[in-house]
């Protein structure tokens, strides 16, 4: 029996407030035990302010979930930096754990128990030991790591450090100073009209042969494909992964959580035009899909 915990990564898209709250009402009823909250992509997105996130965090905690507040991944201005400080301060005051998504957040969190996010480039035991010394209690595996590399990594993992792996949802591949959504609409970043709110699953970027390839989500570039390691969940747990992470999309997320909780793996429905990938797990390019029995 698979006894890994199921977690829900922060929603990376800019959703309407009511859609977001409806989503988390469903998550409260779901089998997911750990829920990450917060805006991790763009400091200009303000449908939810910090106090709104904290109120939601309390609601989900009351519903029995372990809630973690996540910091913004790319901090490139003083206002973003201050917002990160504020988030850490308020989250810790309310006794929520925080996911550090850059080294600066690690500094602010040192001495506390924190989660080391997926973009900290913790690829080997030496770096993990360093994070543990600063207070990390769990780390999220770098997205490009394969199953065999993860096995080697877990052999180097410091005692007591938990491991979390994304098993479903789009892959966050890159972060930029530029906003690609604004660029597409010929808008300046600081006057972007918040156009990403019109694209609750991001903007598909295709090759000229109409092949699905990437997804534009503000300053973030994601895979077009949805990572699907649902069939490997048992193997992942057997390796020693404590938490299986689901990265939300507007469709399919709840079905993916349900599939993980029951270990039955029906085809989880995906939005039209979204294919699956699992290449990284099999030591292949991340975009590949390896059919497994």
């Amino acid at each position: 029996m698979n006894t890994s915990l199921i977690s829900v990564a922060p929603v990376s898209y800019y959703w309407q407030r009511e859609d977001l709250l409806r989503f988390y009402a469903d998550i409260a009823e779901s089998a997911a035990q750990v829920v990450y909250l917060g805006e991790v992509v763009c400091g200009r997105r303000h449908q939810m302010r910090l106090d709104d996130w904290l109120a939601l965090a309390h609601t989900l905690r009351d519903a029995g979930k372990t809630v973690v507040l996540s910091t913004q991944t790319l901090i490139d201005s003083e206002s973003d930096r201050r917002a990160m400080h504020k988030l850490v301060e308020k989250a810790l005051a309310a006794q929520f754990q925080v996911e550090a998504n850059d080294l600066g957040a690690v500094r602010v969190l040192q001495g506390q128990s924190f989660i080391a996010g997926p973009h900290l480039n913790a690829y080997h035991g030496g770096t993990l030991s360093w994070l543990v010394a600063l207070g990390a209690s769990r780390f999220v595996v770098p997205l490009e790591m394969s199953g065999s590399e993860l096995q080697r990594l877990l052999a180097e993992i410091p005692a007591g450090l938990q491991c979390e792996l994304q098993v479903w949802g789009r892959l966050a591949l890159a972060f930029s100073a530029r906003c690609f959504t604004a660029r597409h609409f010929r808008l300046q970043k600081d006057h972007c009209e918040f156009r990403c709110i019109e694209h609750p699953d991001g903007l598909p970027l295709q090759t000229r042969e109409q092949g699905e390839f990437l997804t534009l989500n503000g300053i973030q570039t994601q895979s077009a494909h949805c990572l699907d390691l649902l069939a490997q969940a048992r193997d992942v747990y057997a390796l020693g992964v404590h938490v299986l992470r689901v990265n939300p999309m507007s469709q399919g997320t709840l079905a993916a959580i349900a599939a993980l909780s029951t270990e039955r793996h029906p085809d989880v429905p995906l939005p039209v035009g979204v294919g699956r990938c699992n290449g990284y797990w099999f030591d292949r390019p991340g975009m590949d899909w390896v059919e497994t029995a």
Binding site: D80, D102, L103, Y123, S129, E144, A174, G211, L214
Partner: protein, 338 residues
């Protein structure tokens, strides 16, 4: 507050010994180089240094009063740290003036093993604000940080005031539009990334296919760009390809342009930036010679009389010859797209 600096170190790329010599002759204060393996972010065939080359290069540089920095700026994968640690051992034994590292585990190794070794945080370390820089200073005593190309001039200036760590910025070369160290687009398409193999859009995955006069550039089968007859074709770096977004064909992420901050030199000097980095270890000794000598002349002029500094047309022309797509931008520094 520290007094404002009056000089900036000009840091040049050296992909091989010939380029190293060109850089020093052209007036670089320092060169950076890598070993012939995945321990550095430019792990290309035919590039980089043997130990004998490095010894010759270091001897020459030190005789001229210049510095040699070793880029060991990729992330060792599990079970493979020994190779990276050896690279640090070599750098120390070969009298590196600094090592440029990104990985915290390696920074810890270097600091503990070689307390006298000067540590720079690589751009791959993705330290974009005060807290990340200070953490690496407090933990490892880094003496310099190479800033990712995502910051405006105002943010660079703020950082120079806020931290005692020296600031190095990119001044010229191919423009990486993503925050380095946090981009796995290349590995998503090809399996190899800057972080895990020291390569981006690697040559082994590139295929050029000519059909009916059109030229297709593919990266592991993915159509990155298609050129009309006679249209100049660039290297198919993934993020600089042309793609469809809502049926609109465009350079959806970035045009093939180069960063050129030559006109900003007096401002960078005034704000106390310690070093100016030129990108391009994969470029020829001729590129290195021309770009370094141009920036040397400009930097000397800016240091002599910053108030009267103006960019000479021949400098711009010389740099334009080496710009990708013959276009240049000031990138994130002035953020025309902001």
């Amino acid at each position: 507050m520290e007094p404002v600096r009056r000089t900036m170190e000009l840091v040049a790329p050296a992909g091989n010994l010939a380029a190293l010599k060109s850089a020093l002759q052209a007036g670089a204060n320092a060169v950076y180089l890598g070993l012939k393996n995945a321990t550095n972010a430019r792990n290309f065939a035919g590039l980089n240094f043997t130990e004998a080359d490095i010894e010759a290069g270091v001897t020459l540089a030190h005789r001229m009063g210049r510095k040699v920095m070793f880029a060991i700026n990729t992330y060792p994968q599990p079970g493979q740290t020994a190779l990276w640690q050896q690279a640090i051992d070599h750098a120390h034994a070969l009298k590196a003036d600094a090592v440029i590292l990104a990985d915290p585990g390696l920074l810890g190794y270097a600091r503990e093993r070689y307390p006298d070794l000067r540590l720079h945080l690589s751009v791959q370390g993705s330290a974009t604000h005060l807290d990340s820089i200070e953490l690496m200073f407090e933990q490892f005593g880094i003496q310099r940080v190479v800033l990712p190309r995502v910051l405006t001039l105002a943010e660079v200036e703020r950082l120079t005031r806020q931290t005692r760590v020296e600031i190095e910025v990119f001044g010229f070369g191919s423009l990486c539009v993503m925050a380095e160290g946090r981009c796995i687009l290349s590995s998503f398409a090809t399996g190899d990334s800057p972080n895990n193999q020291g390569v981006c859009s690697p040559a082994h995955a590139v295929r050029w296919v000519e059909q009916a006069g059109q030229l297709d550039a593919r990266l592991n089968g993915v159509l990155i760009d298609r050129y009309a007859p006679g249209e100049p074709a660039g290297y198919p770096t993934l993020c600089k390809g042309r793609f469809l977004v809502e049926d609109e064909l465009d350079h959806a992420l970035e045009e093939p342009t180069s960063l050129n901050a030559i006109s900003l030199l007096p401002r960078l000097l005034a704000m106390g930036v310690s070093a100016l980095k030129i990108e391009g270890r994969q470029r020829s000794p001729a590129y290195v010679a021309q770009v370094v000598s141009t920036l040397r002349a400009a930097l000397d002029a800016a240091e002599r009389d910053p108030a009267r500094f103006s960019v000479r047309p021949d400098w711009q022309a010389a740099l334009a010859r080496h710009a990708e797509g013959a276009q240049t931008t000031q990138g994130a520094f002035d953020r025309p797209w902001k």
